[in-house]
Symmetry: C2
Subunit: 333 residues, 2 copies
């Protein structure tokens, strides 16, 4: 309803969302929230999950992730059970990326009336399988009709004794990460090329990692570390390193000689005629963890893959020297 | 992706969501969750919000509500600021309906690219105004593109020392409620009939209650009550009474002589040629609270409007006797 006298932004009159993009849209939310300061020990928009301290020494983490049909997935190429699994797994990955443990989740679905009930049942089954795998209780939901595409919105609530932020990296730290990197990208290629000359086992492994990503969890052995910068690796190692560098105000250096490329990634990239390093850096959807810490304990599932230095940006260091890590800068490999 | 051998429900093959409706869709979620029992002191799907006990004596409440353009609102008839306000207010109302206090919220938006930036800014401004009014911090968001209608999904997280469930009513209890009832429905009519013979002040009041619903909050004076059944009154008093009766396994009796009809509801219903009681019972969107308790303290904002008895269902008691409270049963008034 439009009351007379309602304030209206003249500056942006006529400008459309497609002109400004999604990150600028989130920026508008920040502006609207200027007056609503968070308590000093809370963390709002900008990390993998929000941090709200309800008790001293125990933080509640909250994530939200929305998936839209035709934008984030196509009904014709993802099984509903895989979508249900993935919707939870990507949120759980965000909780792990904060050093937390997922506890419960709510799921909201907008569904077209012509959708088959069997689709919904399979979706829920995949969701429940992920909930079981990640010990996350599904406590609530909202299911509504829509004249448009399927929309899936999940929020996972977790807890952390010591939330790990992406802004904690310091010069001198080790750059650490779980693997494998690029495997989901390899799985995507294998799916689209079922007749490629790739071993069945490797193709299966890669496709499974793409269809049912399995975030590795936050290792308890890291809990005692006095300082650890951490984030989840959802958009590829290159993107994660850039986010880490920006949030912490440091330079992050990946050393290629320390990087272990998964055999399936190497083999499938070879069959595809692609550079495996390109998949490692920019493939995305691997949902591992990337971090920085002065000292890495053993048996964490993390490997040292580089270092943190004074400066800015993400860098790649190989036998030929040091190169800025920007997307598609590595076609020469 | 469809792997060979993936299980598929044969029973429902070909059945569409439009054939089963939304409540049956939620039922499918319950079925999928059979294996995932909640801890005994948690409450899942079925009340205004989920209850998760993280510490002894302190429950975390979680709500989720999804609004779809053309289903729940039309861009042409709701101001974006009002939609932003409403999206938070309806979730906050659910938290109050559990006897809780809202603490923080996350918001996910699917937005078409042709949407004006000014629309989003106004939406966020209304959301922030509600957040300020209800002392609820907006800690996270996800903003994604869509080829379809606008979708708004909010989750509010709150806390309660003693969560109040709708299943707690017992025979002998007083039926209690905050008011006013039917005011949002009256506002809806006034909006559509700007030239009707209704006082400007009353029309304004009713339209404001429709555009910017203001859930009254859970009164601290109720916290000490040993037993209180409670739910939020989002779909009209008649619907709330039916939900209370079903959840508690009792008969709920509304006594018309105790019901106080707001003057604006009476006046606007008169102008509309409608029965004000019909709006009170079935108008909806009032976002007050309805409850049952053995004893009502003073100064709670609640009034006694009836009683709880052995039996089942929702009933209306007037000078002519007792009538089952079903929608459109009161055309004779």
């Amino acid at each position: 309803m439009f009351y007379p006298g309602r304030e209206h932004s003249l500056l942006n009159y006529g400008v459309k969302l497609s002109d400004i993009g999604e990150s600028q849209a989130i920026e508008r939310l920040r502006v609207a929230l200027r007056q609503l300061a968070l308590p000093s020990d809370w963390v709002g928009i900008g990390d993998d999950a929000a941090v709200c301290q309800t008790e001293p020494g125990l933080a509640v983490l909250t994530t939200v992730d929305m998936l839209v049909e035709e934008v984030h997935f196509k009904r014709s190429t993802i099984a509903p059970g895989d979508l249900g699994w993935k919707a939870l797994a990507v949120n759980v990955s965000d909780i792990f990326g904060m050093g937390g443990v997922p506890r419960w989740c709510v799921v909201a679905l907008a569904l077209p009336g012509e959708l088959k009930v069997s689709w919904l049942e399979e979706f829920y089954r995949g969701l429940a399988q992920a909930a079981l795998a990640y010990d996350t209780r599904i406590v609530g939901g909202d299911t509504v009709g829509t004249p448009g595409p399927i929309v899936v919105s999940l929020s996972v609530i977790g807890q952390a004794q010591k939330p790990r932020l992406r802004s904690e990296a310091c010069p001198g730290d080790l750059l650490v990460a779980t693997g494998p990197h690029g495997l989901a990208r390899a799985g995507h290629w294998a799916l689209e090329h079922p007749l490629a000359a790739v071993s069945h086992a490797m193709a299966e492994l890669a496709m499974r990692s793409q269809a049912r990503p399995a975030p590795p969890g936050y290792p308890a052995t890291l809990a005692a570390l006095p300082r650890l910068a951490l984030l989840d690796d959802s958009d590829g190692l290159g993107r994660s390193m850039t986010l880490l560098a920006e949030a912490s105000g440091v330079a992050v250096v990946l050393q290629t000689n320390r990087l272990k490329i998964h055999p399936a990634v190497a083999a499938i990239a070879h069959a595809a005629g692609s550079d495996p390093l390109d998949w490692v850096l920019w493939g995305g959807e691997d949902y591992g963890l990337v971090g920085a810490t002065p000292d890495l304990p053993s048996a964490t599932g993390f490997r040292v893959i580089g270092k943190v230095e004074m400066g800015a940006g993400a860098w790649l260091e190989d036998s030929t020297g040091r190169h800025p890590l920007t997307n598609h800068a590595f076609r020469h490999f």
